[in-house]
């Protein structure tokens, strides 16, 4: 494990922790952006350049901006009277800790059973990814295109201003 990995992992986890712990919702969205950027760096550390830059474009460029828009449209940055945490926060924390301990236990006890791949950087270029998307994975690509169109129309219809009902 290189020093860069520990640095990037610490950045990502700190961003994620800040995103769920901070009180001001706008600060949470900014910390979420840091976590997304750290995740993109982790992808680059794994020699997955295309996924890393897609992560930057989609998450930092679109999802983070969308979250900030939603916060500002709903006046969500005001801290509510009863605090930012739910009534059942202790149960949620216990469930999350239990899930983490189980995942960590499974990783540590089974990772040596994964068959080792070839050593060194995999020789995969963006051209290979494009060729695979257009040949073997063309049906999932079309389905994702349909899904994105349907989700876009659905989001617009859901958020559209409904007519005032007669009372």
């Amino acid at each position: 494990m290189s020093f860069a990995f520990y640095l990037i992992a610490a950045l990502t986890l700190a961003g994620g922790l800040a995103a769920v712990l901070l009180k001001n919702t706008v600060h949470c969205a900014l910390a979420l952006t840091v976590a997304f950027a750290g995740q993109a760096l982790l992808f680059l550390d794994l020699d997955a350049q295309f996924a890393g830059f897609a992560q930057i474009l989609v998450y930092i460029g679109a999802v983070a901006i969308l979250v900030v828009f939603a916060i500002l449209l709903t006046k969500g940055s005001e801290t509510p009277k009863g605090g930012v945490y739910s009534k059942h926060w202790l149960a949620g924390l216990v469930i999350a800790a239990a899930v983490f301990s189980m995942l960590g236990w499974a990783v540590i006890w089974s990772v040596h059973a994964v068959p080792r791949g070839p050593v060194g950087t995999p020789a995969v270029t963006v051209l290979d990814i494009g060729n695979a998307l257009m040949s073997r994975y063309v049906l999932p690509l079309e389905i994702v295109a349909l899904l994105l169109t349907a989700a876009m129309i659905g989001a617009v219809i859901i958020a559209m201003h409904e007519k005032e009902r007669a009372k």
């Binding site: 979420l32 149960a91 800790a97």
Partner: protein
């Protein structure tokens, strides 16, 4: 330490942070942020298995991660649209105050 184990542990930690956020916060947008963190952790797992697996040239894990990013973007758009609708309807994004599905 095995590099694959390092990435998997970071992903597990990120997933648990997202789960804790989704389960403990009251604001609906923060719950969506927690879900995004969990989806990201899953993507990290996919890419790590692609990189250290036996056949990286088959691109299976990479394709899975790319499609997962696209589906997560659709999920974020619909989820935030729902939050905006709920805010317009109930004038709050506090999930503890939303205890019925009928308007």
């Amino acid at each position: 330490m095995n590099p694959l184990a390092g990435f998997l542990l970071v992903a597990a930690l990120l997933f648990s942070i997202g789960l804790a956020g989704a389960l403990t916060r009251r604001n609906a947008i923060l719950v969506l942020i927690g879900i995004e963190l969990m989806l990201n952790a899953a993507n990290l797992n996919l890419i790590a298995f692609w990189r250290y697996g036996p056949h990286p040239e088959a691109l299976t894990g990479m394709m899975f991660a790319i499609f997962s990013i696209a589906v997560a973007a659709a999920e974020a758009a619909v989820g935030l649209g729902l939050v905006i609708h709920l805010h317009r309807h109930a004038h709050t994004t506090d999930l503890d105050a939303m205890n019925r599905m009928r308007g």
